[in-house]
């Protein structure tokens, strides 16, 4: 270190002599390092980690029944079958989160509870500090009413005293299956254990107590649900403990095989498009986490590329300064400084620059990380607590910093070999050196690749926004009432009551000035549907296959208000329940063609469907959700057991605030019997739906602009350096008759040749990058080849534009003055 001190002092002086240029170099590299470090930190945070609330936490995993868009909850029959069939699973249990009332005299506290199935405590082994867990016999329906409380609740309400065991909690909860806000008294639950502080919940934090699901949940089921039974209620998220001698991968394979062999048929698992997956750790939505990780990983890679471009850029900047320092270094050589010493000096100068940039980068990363977590395409991902102190992140940053130092120092060190005081003054022509060629090509190639990716996202977003969604959202407002409960019957009396209710509400709403039309139905555009019901039918020509059929309710005003396209037949009038309206997708899936008016669908397996009815109309498919997600094959009926969950659609231009005021007035006056949960314009919600795509576009666009600006700036620097260093040659060429135009063309031609290797690499790499992003981030329809060709052409044009200023400089060289210097 002592020997390095003079080098460090000298390096500081060298950089201080050109404060603006050195500051720009530090900032450029710092921003690039910050960008990469921020994403690397997020990636590290998204990596699955063991839940410290369990014994041998590494063995606890999340078992997921993954549908294309979401994880499907499971029932206790599935859990039992999984435990029996999969030898790699030593224990399995389900968890259902809910809110429970704790009544203590007149005091009522709302507690966060997890209802857990058999195997949770004795199989998964969460940590306890007092007492015991819920035993197997407690999980019987007639088992004892016992509870385990959290450490926080123990401290908060029981003072942390050991005499908490055997105390009773009087609990109550909302009934399930009731149309009213009915509360069920669950009785007294005896505290048998206290959880460790690290066990504050499985999927959600801040859980207050754990209760036996098999014993408690049946008390909550009322109405039709009471007859269904807990074993058929798919409402649990599953956790498993991997057998000690097994790996996660082997269990995954076993799961997939068991599923393929039909081990889980009849267990309430949809049979199409389902994958059985097992993830390390306890993660609420592991599929979402994995997807977030992939996206963050992608941007970490982009960040690394930008760092490389920035490093090469700064290296070229140092090289461009080299002619001015050539004399100094040449004199040092002349007085006996060994080459090794000069190399060390240049390395220290580069390292100082990079060290400063790293500090700037870490500070920027701390700020960027907070912002990046809010990126729309990371919505739903859970961050545990992003930290730069994670050794993996620090190792990554140190590694990249070392790479950047190497890159940055290579240029001037390579230039040292061509030193010499005498030689410097005799130089006639400046050729681009190896590092300049390599650095220039690398920057252009990376900028080209990132530009291809960004353009891909641009085209994708434009495509999404221009797609025909199958309906119109002009002047459309949706009222989403609080869940009105389901009516599990196909009794015509209920259908009539639904029609009467709708007419009453329609007449009331039409009284609001500015409301032009009212319709009722579900699902609706951009509506967040809480509960969905789907059924199955088997096509007559493929009886062994199941087609998933979704149910939608729609009054006769629904298609007109949304401008749905009726392809065949006619939407039935009010009260006409003689037939079904189905979507094109259902017609094709069930009957193999679209014009199926008059045909009868195969029997549909599901409650409340009644006798088969003929098809009376076929409507075009709609995209109520993200434009990439077409609606399920659907039956529309005026009245279904979902009609109690109608959304109300209004055609109006009233501002939402004004409309809300009017609605509240009607509700308070008792003229409108609804509770508004959401009030929104689907057009606005769509912007949110496309927000992840937009944010991916903005981020990749930012990276592309940064990489492009750096590359072109570096390229300009090379050109400018070559013109300045080759002034003499340009003067000679002028002397022998090369005019200004020729000289300009020469510089531009040199520039294109310099950039050509970069363009050559950018082409195939850009194509491969786009291919790698399909189909997860970009659709197959994105024209990769056209994008690559466009980007290469644009890059070539930019190289020409970047060369214009140096070219003019070359053309304006005064030959006489230049040739007089010697």
């Amino acid at each position: 270190m002592k020997a390095l001190l003079p080098d460090i002092v000298h390096a500081w002086r060298v950089h201080r002599a050109t404060p603006v240029a050195s500051s720009i170099a530090v900032l450029v590299l710092g921003v690039a390092l910050g960008f990469m470090t921020a994403f690397l930190s997020l990636f590290s945070d998204l990596l699955p980690q063991p839940h410290r609330g369990f014994e041998d936490a590494d063995g606890v995993a999340t078992l997921v029944v993954q549908m294309p868009e979401h994880a499907n909850p499971v029932n206790t029959r599935f859990l039992e079958r999984a435990g029996e069939e999969i030898s790699g699973i030593a224990a399995v249990a389900g968890v259902n989160g809910n809110q429970i009332e704790w009544r203590e005299g007149t005091r009522i506290d709302l507690l966060s509870a997890e209802m857990v199935t058999r195997g949770f405590f004795d199989g998964l082994r969460p940590l306890l500090v007092l007492g015991r867990g819920i035993a197997a016999e407690d999980h019987r329906q007639d088992g004892a009413s016992v509870a385990v409380i959290s450490h926080a609740l123990w401290q908060r309400r029981f003072g942390g005293r050991p005499d908490v065991l055997d105390k009773k909690l009087d609990l109550a909860s909302e009934a399930m299956g009731s149309n009213d806000d009915e509360t069920v008294d669950l009785g007294g639950y005896r505290i048998v254990g206290v959880a460790h502080p690290d066990m504050n919940g499985t999927f959600d934090g801040n859980v207050d107590l754990w209760l036996p699901a098999e014993q408690l949940l049946p008390k909550r089921l009322t109405g039709r649900l009471a007859g269904i039974g807990l074993g058929n209620m798919s409402m649990f998220r599953a956790l498993a403990r991997i057998a000690p001698d097994r790996s996660l991968e082997s269990v995954q394979r076993e799961l997939a095989a068991a599923h393929a062999n039909g081990a889980f048929d009849g267990m309430g698992i949809p049979s199409d498009d389902v994958r059985m997956l097992i993830y390390p750790g306890v993660t609420q939505d592991p599929g979402r986490q994995a997807e977030a990780r992939r996206q963050v990983g992608m941007f970490s890679l982009v960040g690394l590329l930008v760092v490389i471009v920035a490093g090469a850029n700064v290296g070229l900047f140092l090289l461009a300064r080299a002619p001015g320092r050539r004399r100094e270094l040449g004199i040092r050589l002349a007085v006996g400084a060994p080459m090794k010493r000069l190399r060390r000096q240049l390395l220290v100068e580069s390292a100082l620059l990079v060290a400063a940039a790293t500090l700037v980068g870490i500070v920027l990363a701390l700020w960027m990380m907070v912002g990046f977590q809010d990126l729309a395409f990371l919505d739903g991902a859970r961050f545990k607590g992003v930290s730069l102190l994670d050794w993996r992140v620090l190792a990554g940053v140190v590694g990249v910093t070392a790479l950047a130092t190497l890159l940055v120092s290579l240029a001037p060190i390579a230039g040292l070999k061509r030193l010499g005081v005498i030689g410097a003054t005799r130089q006639v022509r400046a050729r681009p050196g190896l590092f300049q060629r390599f650095g220039g090509a690398l920057q252009i190639a990376i900028a080209g690749v990132v530009a291809c990716v960004a353009l891909g996202f641009v085209l994708y977003l434009l495509d999404l926004r221009s797609r025909d969604l199958g309906y119109s959202t002009d002047d459309l407002v949706v009222i989403s009432p609080a869940f009105g409960g389901t009516v599990f019957t196909s009794d015509t009396g209920t259908a009539e009551r639904t029609r009467v209710r709708r007419e009453r509400q329609r007449n009331t709403l039409l009284q609001i000035p500015g409301v032009e039309a009212v319709a009722f139905g579900s699902p609706v555009p951009a509506g967040k549907v809480g509960m969905t019901f789907s059924f199955r039918l088997s096509p007559p020509d493929r009886p062994d296959q199941n087609v998933s059929v979704a149910l939608g309710s729609a009054d006769p005003a629904f298609p007109a208000l949304l401008d749905l396209r009726v392809l065949h037949g006619r939407w039935p009038d009010a009260g006409d329940e003689s037939g079904y309206v189905i979507s094109r997708a259902l017609a094709e899936a069930a009957l193999g063609h679209v014009d199926v008016v008059g045909e009868v669908l195969p029997p549909i397996q599901g409650p409340g469907m009644g006798e088969p009815r003929p098809v009376v109309a076929v409507v075009e498919n709609v995209f109520f959700d993200h434009p990439e997600n077409p609606d399920d094959p659907r039956i529309y009926s005026e009245s279904t057991f979902m009609s109690g969950n109608d959304r109300i659609l209004l055609k109006t231009r009233l501002p939402l605030d004004t409309l809300r005021q009017e609605l509240n007035r009607l509700i308070e006056a008792g003229e409108l019997e609804i509770e508004i949960q959401f009030l929104f314009r689907p057009r606005d919600r769509f912007r949110e739906l496309l927000a992840p795509d937009r944010s991916r576009l903005y981020l990749s666009g930012l990276a592309a602009v940064t990489a492009l600006a750096l590359a072109l700036f570096g390229f300009y620097g090379i050109q400018r350096f070559l013109v300045d260093a080759g002034r003499r040659e340009f003067a000679i060429l002028a002397a022998i008759g090369a005019g200004p135009k020729r000289l300009r063309r020469r510089v531009i031609g040199t520039g294109l040749m310099l950039g050509l290797p970069g363009l050559v690499f950018a082409g195939p790499l850009g194509y491969l990058a786009l291919a790698a992003l399909k189909p997860e981030f970009l659709p197959e329809s994105i024209p990769a080849l056209a994008i690559v060709v466009f980007v290469l052409a644009a890059l070539a044009a930019l190289l020409v534009v970047t060369s214009l200023a140096p070219a003019r400089r070359a053309a304006e060289i005064a030959p006489a003055a230049q040739l007089r210097e010697d």
Partner: protein, 233 residues
């Protein structure tokens, strides 16, 4: 060019170099005429303006006053592209420090002016360059690089480059300045031979021995032609 009027006609030519604090009249009212086929040497002490005068004659520098006509063309009225064209077609320049391109071979260096002449293909360029190299006695070194040649050989190549475009005027600025006496003699002899073949030759030298080769000697001092500058051959 067979026009009987002077090839070069300078009338009151001025060239001023100005800095923030100082104005230097490198050429201060030069009147000079040179006929086609003449061999003129411009002599004078260091800093008197001879190289500036040569640069002006070679259209490498612009004038700040007066008029310069080259083959009857008023050079002040033509643009940079036309000046370059004239330089390429009518003028050959020989420099003191040779100014060959190190990365090119001898043959490529000689052919270089023809690259900027329209209508001359690559094969033709190299053929004509070879012929000129033959003329200056350097054909055997056509594939060598300049740094493989002696000073005298490099200057011969530079002369060949100046000749390849068949100019009507050769301007040589201290062509023997970097050479030893023997090589200097050879170069001056070569230039004299070229003049005898009809090329108008204007040289700058501070060596009176070499100046004696010229048909007319012009003396300069402080940017002006000295009274009685016409020296006899």
């Amino acid at each position: 060019m067979t026009d009987p009027s002077p090839l070069i006609a300078l009338a009151g030519v001025e060239r001023i170099f100005a800095t923030e604090t100082l104005e230097t009249h490198a050429l201060d009212g030069i009147d000079l005429e040179i006929d086609s086929g003449e061999y003129v040497t411009i002599e004078g002490p260091s800093g008197c303006g001879k190289s500036t005068l040569l640069s002006v004659l070679g259209l490498l520098d612009e004038i700040d006053g007066g008029e310069y006509r080259l083959a009857g063309v008023p050079t002040g009225e033509i643009d940079a592209e036309e000046r370059a064209r004239l330089r390429n077609r009518e003028i050959g320049f020989v420099f003191q420090s040779f100014n060959l391109i190190p990365e090119m071979s001898v043959l490529e260096n000689v052919a270089l002016p023809l690259v900027y002449r329209d209508g001359v293909g690559a094969g033709d360029r190299l053929r004509r360059a070879g012929e000129v190299l033959e003329r200056v006695g350097m054909a055997a070194r056509a594939d060598h690089r300049p740094n493989q040649l002696s000073g005298g050989q490099q200057q011969r190549v530079a002369i060949a480059r100046a000749l390849v475009g068949q100019p009507s005027l050769i301007l040589a600025d201290e062509p023997t300045g970097n050479l030893d006496h023997e090589n200097g003699e050879q170069i001056m002899a070569l230039l004299a031979e070229l003049n005898r073949s009809g090329v108008t030759l204007v040289t700058v030298t501070h060596n009176p021995e070499y100046a004696a080769h010229a048909g007319r000697r012009v003396a300069m001092l402080d940017g002006r032609l000295r009274v009685g500058e016409q020296a006899s051959a």
